[in-house]
């Protein structure tokens, strides 16, 4: 068969065009995710019918479907190529894709490489053979020998006395404590600021190694549902995938045998993540230790509380629950914009 196709970018603000894609995806038991920001289709020139589609949300490619009768004609190659170029125009070159294991071979033939596999559920791939390997190389440079090596993942939006307390406890109980800072810039405090405040607030602890989590620890790439509310089932899948990367690719490189985590009293997403962690990591030989939060006036200290106080114009009360370094930052010129942003948005992050 020799068909002619035209490639088209869907105008997502047009209800009619969007509906067309949704109807096409529905035929393949798929949905057009609400975080999709770029959607491409191939139309048959003959009758303008959509015969294939692919989308992207940030650096994650998703929502692919090709008409059954036209599979094997290289339509996905066309779409993926165009997506890669469109994303390159946005300066996004490192791309990820979640796919059912039975379709992994297809993406592998399009230049994608497996990051992690979740038995029978989903595979995560990236469009470079160097991504995860470079990350491993970066962290291995900071490896320190020891018997009792632990890991802790923190976002610190911003760094509070609660974080400090948690890190101090974990540090005291370990020979070496690897601290991974969530690098996704989805928080109101930018990653560089979060890192700086963590460095300052942990300066007194000598056995701590700080790493940037990049795309491989709770990022939009490995754990999209952490940032966008979705089905619980999908959240669990993504959480497992994130933990699988930690257990298979990160922990062994640094010989981490224990992961510390702070109890989460407020955020349900983080709470389920912790719950899944406690079930899953021990099966990979990594012990999970959950530590209770430090309290102030019988209330657990948290970064969200700090943001809440800022939002309610009670900045001065933050002084009780953040270390001096964070307090100084909150009163700096640099923080003005961030504070303004907190006051004008209701975001969870």
């Amino acid at each position: 068969m020799n068909h002619e196709y035209a490639l088209e970018k869907i105008n997502l603000s047009s209800k009619k065009e969007k509906k067309e894609v949704e109807d096409f995806l529905e035929k393949h038991q798929l949905l057009l995710d609400h975080d999709v920001s770029l959607c491409l289709v191939l139309r048959l020139t003959l009758n303008q019918k959509i015969v294939a589609t692919a989308s992207a949300a940030g650096k994650v490619l998703k929502c692919f479907a090709v008409d059954q009768d036209l599979q094997g004609e290289g339509l996905s190659n066309k779409l993926i190529s165009e997506l890669i170029h469109k994303k390159a125009e946005e300066n996004i070159r490192h791309l990820f894709v979640f796919t059912k294991p039975e379709n992994t071979f297809l993406f592998e033939s399009l230049g994608f490489y497996v990051v992690a596999k979740l038995e029978g559920a989903v595979d995560l791939l990236e469009n470079t053979p160097y991504g995860l390997n470079n990350f491993k190389k970066e962290i291995i440079e900071k490896r320190i020998e020891g018997n009792n090596i632990a890991g802790l993942v923190v976002n610190c939006n911003p760094f509070t006395l609660g974080h400090q307390y948690l890190i101090e406890l974990a540090s005291k109980a370990s020979d070496v404590l690897h601290l991974f800072v969530v690098w996704e810039d989805a928080s109101v405090f930018p990653n560089t600021v979060r890192l700086k405040l963590i460095e300052e607030g942990t300066k007194h602890l000598k056995n701590i190694v700080i790493h940037k989590g990049h795309d491989y620890i709770i990022s939009r790439a490995t754990f999209p549902t952490y940032f966008i509310k979705d089905d619980d089932k999908i959240l669990e899948t993504h959480a497992r995938l994130d933990l699988q990367i930690f257990a298979d690719s990160i922990a062994p490189v640094l010989e981490i045998k224990k992961r510390y985590v702070g109890a989460e009293p407020y955020c349900t997403t983080t709470n389920s993540y912790n719950k899944i962690m406690k079930e899953f990591l021990p099966t990979k030989g990594i012990e999970v230790v959950e530590l209770a939060r430090k309290e102030f006036n019988t209330e657990a200290i948290s970064a969200s509380k700090v943001r809440e106080l800022i939002r309610e114009n009670k900045l001065s009360e933050c002084k009780n629950i953040v270390p001096a370094s964070t307090w100084d930052f909150l009163n700096s010129f640099e923080a003005e914009k961030i504070i303004q942003k907190i006051k004008t948005t209701q975001s969870r992050h």
Binding site: G74, N77, S81, I84, R93, L110, G111, T128, P129, Y130
Partner: protein, 97 residues
Amino acid sequence: MEIKKEAVAGTVESSDAMVTIAPNPTGAIEIHLKSVVERQFGRQIRKLVEETLKNLKIKSAIVRIEDKGALDAVLRARLEAAADRASEQKVNWKERA
């Protein structure tokens, strides 16, 4: 030619190749080739890539090629296009020809 940023050219469609060129912090040339005709033409393709980079006076780069059976001229064109984008240079096509 100096590679200043990562750039891509080409497609993963049949008879084409997608070429990505990125700066290499180690200062050497690194070629990562994946080809559907690797077994028959792997050596020949590598040679072509090395020659093309030499002609472009590129001494340091990470070059990734996802080859779908591109002919020599196609592969050379994709390499040149990616290199031009990665070096942020305006190309003088007359001179190049």
